[in-house]
């Protein structure tokens, strides 16, 4: 910026600071109005209480007391708010020449400083920033003068990556402490606010730069350790370390979609290492996938194996055993006792179980259906 532009920009900044000063007084007025309203309510409730007591209306008196109690609860907060605003109302307004001197010093401090007249934005560009060998590039700190008077409601500046190298897991995070072009000021919040209130532009821009050149590992949007992400071994999806799983067998990192939990032992496995129960199709780790049906050798999970057999083989064995039992029973009956004496001429023997000799009466035996010896 040449001197003429510098003075013009200084004038714009002075005007913005005057708006900011006005907004401070307006906030004081708004809070005082709230406080006055609360006091009026208190006075009203006090009168109601007096009337209620004069007529022995205890229910009404109790109602008034509750209202008074509510109002009193709000007063400390309102009073504290007003005091805080009053303490901050007075900020020394810089002169036009002081602002111009600051702009001049800003150009010495930063290689690139410019003013966009269209949106009244004063910008300073940092040098390229690297943190822990991770290149993040230069950042443009853009102070929007039109919104400076709303300093207490919203952030009037943005931090835009000039050569973005965002976190692999979130494009909006261009710096560990910048998300969606807004820096989280952390320890610098109060000092930055004060610098803007008093028009100390060099201090404001240098403090934002100090945040960008410092890494706080305790509170980043994305940590530098996860900056380049972890690719899933199976599908290549880039994830952060908190959302990745490690296969117990091959120790490769896999994403949620490509990981499975062994239904028998609960170990986490990747798709490559996982086996599958051929009956219920549940995932199995390589160890548990060694269990097989002793008959057909199908891979089975613990739930599907019964006596070492898969359900089909088990059913088949059970059926076979039943048939075997039935056949045995039938053979035994064919060799049963002769009903009533010796059979003549080698006649056919009676089938069925042993006849009960004389069960119901003398000389009588129960008769069973079926062919009888001839």
């Amino acid at each position: 910026m040449n001197d003429k532009e510098l003075v013009r920009v200084a004038g714009t900044i002075e005007s913005a600071l005057r708006q900011l000063r006005k907004s401070r007084y307006m906030r004081c007025a708004a809070q005082l109005s709230l406080f006055a309203g609360t006091m009026r309510n208190l006075i009203g409730d006090s009168r109601k209480l007096a009337v209620a007591m004069s007529r022995d209306w205890f229910a009404a008196a109790e109602h008034s007391c509750k209202a008074v109690s509510r109002q009193l609860g709000e007063i400390p907060f309102l009073a504290s708010n007003i005091q805080s605003l009053l303490d901050r109302r007075h900020r020394e307004m810089p002169t036009l020449s002081a602002i111009a001197a600051d702009l001049w010093a800003l150009q010495q401090e930063f290689d690139e400083v410019d003013f966009n007249g269209e949106d009244n934005t004063l910008c300073a560009v940092t040098e390229a920033i690297s943190l822990e060998d991770i290149y993040l590039g230069p950042f443009r700190i853009a102070l929007h003068l039109d919104t400076l008077h709303e300093l207490y409601q919203k952030v009037p500046y943005f931090v835009i990556a000039v050569d973005p190298h965002p976190a692999a897991t979130d494009d909006a995070v261009t710096h560990p402490h910048v998300s969606h072009d807004v820096v989280c000021e952390g320890d610098g919040a109060a000092a930055i606010r004060t610098a803007l209130e008093t028009g100390r532009l060099v201090d404001f821009f240098t403090m934002v730069r100090s945040i960008l050149t410092t890494y706080n590992p305790d509170s980043p949007y994305v940590s530098l350790a996860d900056w380049e992400g972890v690719p899933c071994y199976e599908c290549g999806y880039v994830m952060d370390s908190e959302n990745s799983y490690s296969c117990t067998y091959c120790e490769n990192a896999v994403c949620d979609e490509c990981s499975a939990v062994c239904v028998t032992c609960g170990e986490i496995v990747c798709k490559s290492c996982a086996g599958t129960c051929e009956i219920c199709e549940s995932s199995l780790c390589p160890q548990c996938a060694k269990k097989k049906c002793s008959e057909c050798e199908s891979v089975c999970c613990g739930s599907c194996l019964d006596d070492g057999l898969c359900p089909d083989c088990k059913e088949e064995r059970d059926n076979h055993e039943e048939e075997t039992e039935d056949n045995q029973d039938a053979t035994t009956d064919q060799e049963g006792s002769v009903l009533g004496g010796r059979l003549a001429d080698g006649g056919q023997r009676a089938y069925g179980s042993y006849a009960t000799l004389q069960p119901h009466g003398v000389g009588q035996a129960p008769v069973f259906p079926g062919p009888v010896g001839q």
Binding site: A105, P176, E185, G186, R193, S219
Partner: protein, 73 residues
């Protein structure tokens, strides 16, 4: 003599202070920023960088800004 001291550590407030004549910037920093290292700060007098043995003058504006400020998420 009086100087204006702007400390951008913490709250970032400005105060007029009395300092002895012949006080250098290095001495002033040592007095006001106990235990801190000058290398961790930007020290400017009247918005300009100055050598450590610069002798402060009446009405000088001394600004001390940390070069390391921890942001958050």
């Amino acid at each position: 003599m009086k100087i204006l001291f702007i400390n951008n550590s913490g709250g970032g407030f400005a105060d007029y202070l009395d300092v002895n004549d012949q006080t250098t910037v290095a001495q002033f920093f040592k007095d006001k920023m106990l235990g801190e290292q000058p290398e961790d700060y930007l020290i400017r007098v009247n918005r300009q960088p100055v050598p450590r043995d610069y002798v402060l003058q009446a009405n000088d504006r001394v600004t001390i800004t940390p070069t390391k400020i921890e942001g958050a998420a």
